[in-house]
Symmetry: C2
Subunit: 402 residues, 2 copies
């Protein structure tokens, strides 16, 4: 049985960034640039005023207040046809081009009008270059403004729009197939009877896959028959990633591994010393990476966070794979009887400059009520049977909460 | 000119949670429950084995190894028709119902087979109740498992699926109209000439609105003519929120406030002591909240993070409105000449149990290249002109990065 960090390394080793694709800019949010993006213009394309005020010559402000003749008004979007000479100023709006001759802009708040038409009094001095962004100072024509590997945040969308990228080249988002296995499963619209339970895993995984920026495809429920499982799995091989839930423990009726073998899947590991989630199969078939996740909903969701989400992040071209792990102050004692590294559903909060964490009361590893109330995991190392209250521990944050 | 925290309070005071709506479960991710969700079943609906192993009577394990007669096998999804008597055991799979008579499950790893058919040797004792989740222990029929106000994380999607909610009642996501103003703007597919610049703000805001969980509607560019602006604004009043960029500074051609007045908008503030972003109008018309954002792209994006995203969070029914602010170790001196509270584009990282932050080199408040490379803001208080290297400061994290 390998340790979690070993499983993590194996998953990342076997996972590759997907190929590049060209998408409309507004669909690129959350993706990663697969090509350098260069500016197609000088930014700003002219000396630009960063305030509303008066474009003037700084030397004219040696005696204050300085009376200047206002020779024109420059709105954003208009190009001044005139130049400023000594003793002159032009009223100028934020974002407008500074006229020739002027070497500073003084803010309108530091001026006042006089009784003379076309005249202004400037009340404070300005240094040369004040409130002017020089031509090309932010980016030169042809300069790479966003290198390959850049994450496309909303701010990056804005930059790419500013340099004229209607489309951008990003790494493709993985398509992820989801198959639930087990005779006990019924659709969520049905009322379970006797020993049945609802197939909630496919829903939770759909939401996790979407939140990770990948594309979920739910293939349905495979009953505990090899033929049906094989057929669904073969359909699943059209995706970049295939997730199965259930059928991977030591039970006699756990068919998943059998079918993996029949289909010639290369299995990299089938058990990880982590709680919840011990039975986890990771395999490859052709270009598809396959995870056999536990049937227990908390275990399946947790292994997704620990191993599948990092794989999706790598496929998307990111260079940080793991959910954020922070140091936190443990507020309540925690007992770990599992003999495995334990990721306990927890609540983490930031207060007075530090994270604090406590494990949520749980009725066991299948307690989806408790799990749904958590925003993080308390991490208990494999070699610790107990964490004392007040200890500094590690907490793994779930990205949708922080 | 009001302070940022005052503006924040005014925005939140004037913003209300939207009404509830019923949506399919898979569309509820990222929303907030507007109704308690109760379980329509007992969970688990039977005493459930949490491991693969043998269901047995704990007292039978007083002498070890204990030889037990295996009277049946219980797969998940099948209901045992038999009961366990002293000296007997049933092989049981994870998730399967524990048969009557049995009061513990011992893991398969702690058993071994014998040469006798239908017999097993159990190697370790088990306490009463071991590896069994009792009937109804996680939730009782009718029990509220997710109260109104719960955030619908992927884990919550899983819980709601488990209790049979094909649809859930959540607060509606705001529809947000976006209007850019200014004669200088051209579409991003065009090559700006002379004093023109591309309308990148509408793209950046689209991405920010989406990332905040709201629905963007881009209404286009209004030229600096009252009639056109008024017409677009009136169209914008069909949305819950209306964002304008440009036209809100002190320049002569800044028409936005004029049109606000003509249309009878109630203006709550029109200037905030924050950098970047000083000119910010916040108003209400009918049921629409209106933000007049600066035309400068970095300012517009920053005011979105400081004031608009919190309003969207409240409309969605969340109770935490602000982006996360953490204590961080400043690695480089920072100078604040603005006389305002300064949110400087910055890089924040977590290392050795603490956050570290540095402001990114910037060519001024319009530097979209620098802004696009940031993942956070370094916050400099209004009364500080300088932050020294090694100081403990505050950083505001941008949610897409953490």
């Amino acid at each position: 049985m390998i340790k979690l960090h070993e499983a993590f390394e194996i998953v990342l080793q076997r996972t590759s960034r997907l190929e590049a694709e060209r998408v409309p800019l507004l669909q690129a949010r959350g993706r990663v640039l697969a090509e350098d993006a260069a500016s197609d213009m000088n930014m700003p394309p002219f000396p630009r005023s960063s305030v509303d005020g008066y474009a003037l010559i700084a030397e004219d402000l040696q005696r204050l207040p300085a009376r200047l003749q206002v020779v024109g008004t420059i709105a954003a979007g208009t190009y001044p046809e005139f130049a400023i000479a000594s003793g002159q100023a032009a009223k100028i709006m934020t974002g407008a081009p500074v006229p020739a001759g002027a070497d500073a802009v003084q803010m309108i708040e530091r001026s006042r009008s006089t009784s003379t038409a076309n005249e202004v009094e400037i009340l404070e001095a300005a240094s040369k270059g004040a409130n002017i962004s020089p031509f090309g100072s932010e980016a030169r024509l042809g300069q790479v403004v966003a290198p390959v590997g850049s994450f496309v945040s909303p701010a990056m969308v804005g930059l790419l729009a500013a340099v004229g990228k209607r489309e951008v080249v990003v790494y493709r988002a993985p398509a992820v197939g989801v198959i639930a296995t087990g005779d006990e499963l019924v659709e969520i619209s049905e009322q379970p009877v006797a020993a049945q339970i609802r197939n909630s895993n496919s829903y939770a995984l759909f939401a996790q896959i979407e939140s990770a920026g990948a594309r979920p495809h739910v293939l349905g429920i495979a009953r505990d028959q090899k033929s049906q499982l094989r057929e669904l799995m073969q359909r699943g091989l059209q995706y970049d990633l295939l997730l199965l839930t259930g059928g991977v423990s030591m039970g006699d009726l756990d068919l998943v591994e059998d079918v993996f073998a029949e289909l010639g899947f290369k299995i990299f590991f089938n058990k990880v010393a982590v709680k919840p989630g011990k039975p986890v199969v990771f395999a490859r078939a052709g270009n598809t990476l396959v995870f056999g996740l536990p049937g227990n909903p908390v275990s399946a969701a947790t292994i997704f966070e620990l191993l599948v989400r990092p794989a999706i992040r790598k496929m998307l071209g990111n260079v940080v794979y793991q959910n954020q792990i922070v140091n936190a102050h443990l507020t309540q004692r925690f007992v770990n009887r599992s003999g495995r590294e334990n990721y306990a559903p927890a609540w983490t909060w930031y207060e007075n400059g530090a994270y604090h964490v406590r494990a949520l009361p749980s009725k066991g590893s299948g307690d989806v009520v408790s799990y749904a109330a958590s925003n993080s995991y308390l991490i208990c190392p494999i070699d610790r049977t107990e964490l004392a209250a007040e200890e500094q521990v590690h907490a793994m944050l779930r990205p949708e909460f922080f």
